[in-house]
């Protein structure tokens, strides 16, 4: 049963990674990267690495997303690719 759970999250991981790199709007890219990080956090909680999971939730998803959004707001929001 945990195998199905892991497989669904891993498929969504690849999908969100591709979408966050393909979308033209950089603010959307930052938010979808936050979704990617939270999915990674769920996966690690499922793999019994809870310390890594909540570090990723706080530092990876939270602080990284804030840094990216701050940079997008201070520079330009459109991307050429």
């Amino acid at each position: 049963m945990i195998w199905i759970f892991d497989s669904i999250i891993l498929i969504f991981l690849v999908v969100t990674a591709i979408i966050s790199l393909q979308v033209k709007d950089l603010l959307s890219a930052a938010m979808i990267f936050g979704v990617y990080s939270f999915l990674m956090c769920l996966l690690w909680a499922g793999m019994a690495a809870v310390d890594v999971a909540f570090t990723e939730a706080a530092v990876g998803a939270g602080v990284s997303a804030v840094f990216l959004i701050a940079t997008v707001l201070r520079t330009s929001r459109r991307s050429s690719d």
Partner: protein, 154 residues
């Protein structure tokens, strides 16, 4: 059927390779600096995924000792000590704490990867600071536009 088993039992490693190559492609082929940095973060999380996958065991739980696993064994030790004390036999039961390592995932890789997460967010912060500096200097965060500006002597 064997191929299906080879993929399904090691699906973490297959997905790790796919995600790492997506991040590497973004670092090389994307023109936007922020896209490059998102690719770098995806690359780093893929490597962390690989390392955490190494420490996983089938049917194992989180590497935290329960209260009775430590103190229950200690109480047994105490009772055994008093009962044997009457016979004048002193036995050390310190090695009687039964902790089966198969019940826990390997915590070594978790500790290593905690450092890797913090290093990852630090490199992302430095990269984004350089991106802001470039935007202030050249008015663009696209690599090819900045290269054109440098080539034309600004």
């Amino acid at each position: 059927m064997e191929i299906f088993e080879a993929i399904s039992t090691k699906i973490n490693y297959w997905v790790y390779i796919v995600i790492m190559m997506i991040g590497l492609y973004a670092m090389i082929a994307k023109n936007n600096m922020i896209k490059k940095l998102i690719g770098m973060s995806i690359f780093q999380t893929a490597i962390i995924l690989f390392y955490v996958s190494i420490g996983v065991k089938e049917g194992a739980t989180i590497p935290i000792l329960y209260h009775d696993q430590v103190h229950g064994a200690h109480d047994d030790h105490h009772e055994a000590d008093t009962s044997h004390g009457e016979n004048g036999v002193v036995e050390s039961h310190a090695t009687d704490i039964h902790i089966n390592p198969d019940e826990f995932t390997n915590p070594l890789v978790h500790v290593l990867m905690l450092t890797a997460i913090v290093v990852g967010v630090s490199t992302l912060g430095v990269g984004l600071a350089i991106t802001q500096k470039l935007h202030r200097e050249y008015g663009s965060i696209e690599e090819h536009e900045i290269l054109e500006l440098i080539k034309s002597g600004k």
